[in-house]
């Protein structure tokens, strides 16, 4: 702390030049990777990381499945970034609520938006609001302890459930629902989710995709894990694999290996064993699009009406599906919608594309460019859409941060900007509950301590109020 203050004084005395001030909005993977690049490549840069929640790490904390603790090791790298003397963290500050983009542009030299994609995409079909139709996004937030999802009502009393979508989120949801409960007890999954899952009656879980095995969006690691689950058999539909094996020699490596793994599992030919009460079934279905949800008189889900599809087009990965006109009814008591996320326009100055991303050119956001206002940039899912694993977000964040660096270095003379100290003055006096990195460290310690007694790596605090009580 002392060193930090000395450095500030030294900087002020040594030169008349103003140091570049960058504001990053959203302390998830994209925000931290961008901060990492900025601090490594500009010695005099000041980076302020703003986060809507009191706690950092975004989807690394609230998206990554609890049984994937290794993926969360990246938090160690992010923590080093946050502890860098030129980086400050301000949690519990929301863009569009506590501060406006315009204000940030007044008080910084560059504003980088990395607040992700927090809404789930909807299907737009009949009865989508029925009871027991759940957004996978909310379910993930629920088991991971996201404050806004902690009160989700999850009814696992029916033996059959379906997931609409075939990406990695869909496979995460499937794995959490089908894993032996004792495997989950060792993770940082929330206690209430553990209790609900322990009483789950789900035996059969469908994974429904509108296209075929050659177009699945999940990655091979997640599929391999699913296929290896204890007490769970995977049952594929024979018709779905017609002609698939023949295409393997023509596929590029990642798709080829993924398809080979599916074919291998398909050939193992698992059958249902009705007498085995512990056995669960994972049942992927291809070439089906939901047409409408079927409900009873109480608006509770009873099934899904599916449209049958066939594929048209030459290039395998770009093939489009068209309905054949046939229909299939799938009975189930619970359905998860897992067809992607979209970002929310939290500030009125932002222009959004129809895909739910901020309109941008290689990370540069086109807003009115009055010279006295900071340039705006976007990185991560807010700019690219919700695709790829952390690696892809890392690449994108480095790329955009590089542009920020170049632009700042090209500025001849940076004027004096107040950064967060100025922004803080505009935040209404009611909200003085800003959580700094030390505050997060208190929450972190508390969570780890709470986990110890249960044999878990941590027990997350799921209420913002409680987080603030510990941090402040």
């Amino acid at each position: 702390m002392g060193i930090k203050h000395l450095k500030v004084v030294a900087r002020m005395l040594s030169t008349g030049q103003n140091n570049p001030r960058v504001c990053i909005v959203g302390a998830g993977a994209a925000g931290f990777y961008a901060a990492m690049h900025l601090t490594k490549n500009m010695a005099n840069v000041n980076v302020d990381l703003l986060e809507k929640l009191p706690v950092p790490f975004g989807l690394v904390r609230y998206g990554v499945a609890p049984d994937h603790p290794e993926v969360k090791n990246v938090i160690n790298q992010f923590t080093k970034v946050a502890q860098h003397p030129n980086v400050n963290y301000y949690g519990n500050v929301a863009l569009g609520k506590d501060v406006s983009l315009h204000q940030l542009r007044q008080h910084y030299h560059a504003v980088l938006l990395t607040y992700g994609a927090e809404e789930d995409r909807i299907l737009g079909i009949e009865n989508e609001d029925a009871k027991n139709v759940v957004a996978a996004r909310n379910f993930v937030g629920w088991y991971n302890g996201l404050p806004s999802d902690k009160d989700l009502k999850v009814d696992l009393s029916n033996s059959t459930a379906a997931i609409l979508g075939q990406g990695n989120v869909a496979l995460d949801v499937a794995r959490i629902l089908l894993s032996p409960i004792d495997e989950l007890r060792k993770t940082d999954i929330t206690e209430y989710a553990l209790q609900t899952l322990a009483e789950s009656k789900i035996k059969e879980l469908y994974l429904i995709g509108r296209r075929g095995p050659l177009q699945v969006a999940f990655t091979i690691k997640e599929l391999r894990e699913q296929l290896k689950l204890k007490n769970c058999s995977t049952i594929w539909r024979e018709n779905d694999f017609k002609g698939v094996e023949e295409t393997i020699p023509n596929l590029a490596r990642p798709r080829k290996r993924l398809t080979e793994l599916m074919i291998k599992s398909f050939k193992e030919d698992h059958k249902k064993q009705e007498d085995d009460l512990n056995q669960k079934y994972f049942m992927p279905i291809f070439f089906r699009s939901p047409n409408k949800f079927l409900v009873n008189e109480n608006q509770v889900l009873t099934g899904i009406e599916l449209k049958c599809n066939r594929l048209v087009g030459d290039k395998l990965e770009d093939q489009k599906c068209v309905p054949t006109g046939e229909m299939e009814v799938l009975k189930c008591g619970l359905a998860f919608r897992s067809i992607g996320y979209r970002s929310t326009p939290v500030d009125r100055d932002l222009i959004f594309t129809p895909y739910g991303t901020v309109a941008n050119d290689k990370g540069c956001v086109t807003v009115d460019n009055s010279s006295h206002l900071a340039k705006v940039y976007v990185a991560g899912w807010l700019g690219t859409g919700p695709v790829g694993v952390i690696l892809h977000t890392m690449g994108n964040a480095f790329h955009v941060a590089k542009t920020v660096c170049e632009d700042l270095k090209n500025e001849n003379c940076l004027d004096n900007r107040g950064g967060f100290e100025e922004v803080r003055k505009t935040i209404s006096p009611g909200n003085n509950e800003i959580v700094d990195w030390k505050g997060w460290e208190k929450i972190d310690k508390h969570e780890v301590d709470q986990g110890k007694s249960k044999g878990k790596p941590r027990e997350k605090i799921c209420s913002v109020k409680e987080m603030l009580e510990i941090a402040l």
Binding site: H68, N73, T219, N396
Partner: protein, 158 residues
């Protein structure tokens, strides 16, 4: 000097993994368990030189101990390779993707596991001679090894 590097090795995240995950075999940890008077004292401090050639042509040379992985070398020497080793050697990311020369690739012992291939499938600029740095263990034979670190940025992402 030796003491300092030992401390650094032991306090690195990698050594945590070795202790709790049984995934790596870092020599420094071996030394922790076994008394210093091993039967092969000559081997103990033998260093292996490796170099990393970054996508912009920049070359980083470093030394590692026999038994270290390439990721250990990057972590223990605090090499400036951005984002390298995000999952700390647990085979859940591909940020330590390196490209070897054909001959080097072929003389590495052991088979590439399915789990390593699964992660490589997600890497940018995957080649036939790609490996994950966390899975390459240094041996005397590998002294002078040179690997390419491909760019992690790809605009044409799908």
């Amino acid at each position: 000097m030796l003491f300092r590097s030992l401390i650094r090795t032991l306090s690195s995240p990698r050594s945590y993994l070795v202790k709790y995950n049984c995934l790596g075999t870092s020599f420094s940890n071996y030394r922790q368990i076994v008394p210093l008077s091993t039967t092969k004292p000559a081997l103990k401090d033998e260093k292996v030189k490796v170099s990393f050639v970054l996508h912009d042509g920049k070359r980083i040379e470093a030394e590692g101990k026999i038994g270290d992985s390439l990721l250990d070398v990057v972590v223990n020497n605090d090499l400036n390779i951005e984002g390298f080793g995000a999952c700390e050697g647990t085979l859940t990311c591909s940020t330590c993707h390196v490209i070897l020369k054909k001959d080097d690739y072929e003389r590495l012992p052991g088979e590439v596991t399915d789990e390593e291939r699964d992660m490589l499938d997600l890497a940018y600029g995957l080649t036939d001679y790609s490996r994950l740095g966390c899975q390459i263990e240094l041996s005397k034979d590998l002294d002078g090894l040179e690997v390419k670190v491909p760019e992690t940025i790809n605009d044409a992402r799908s």
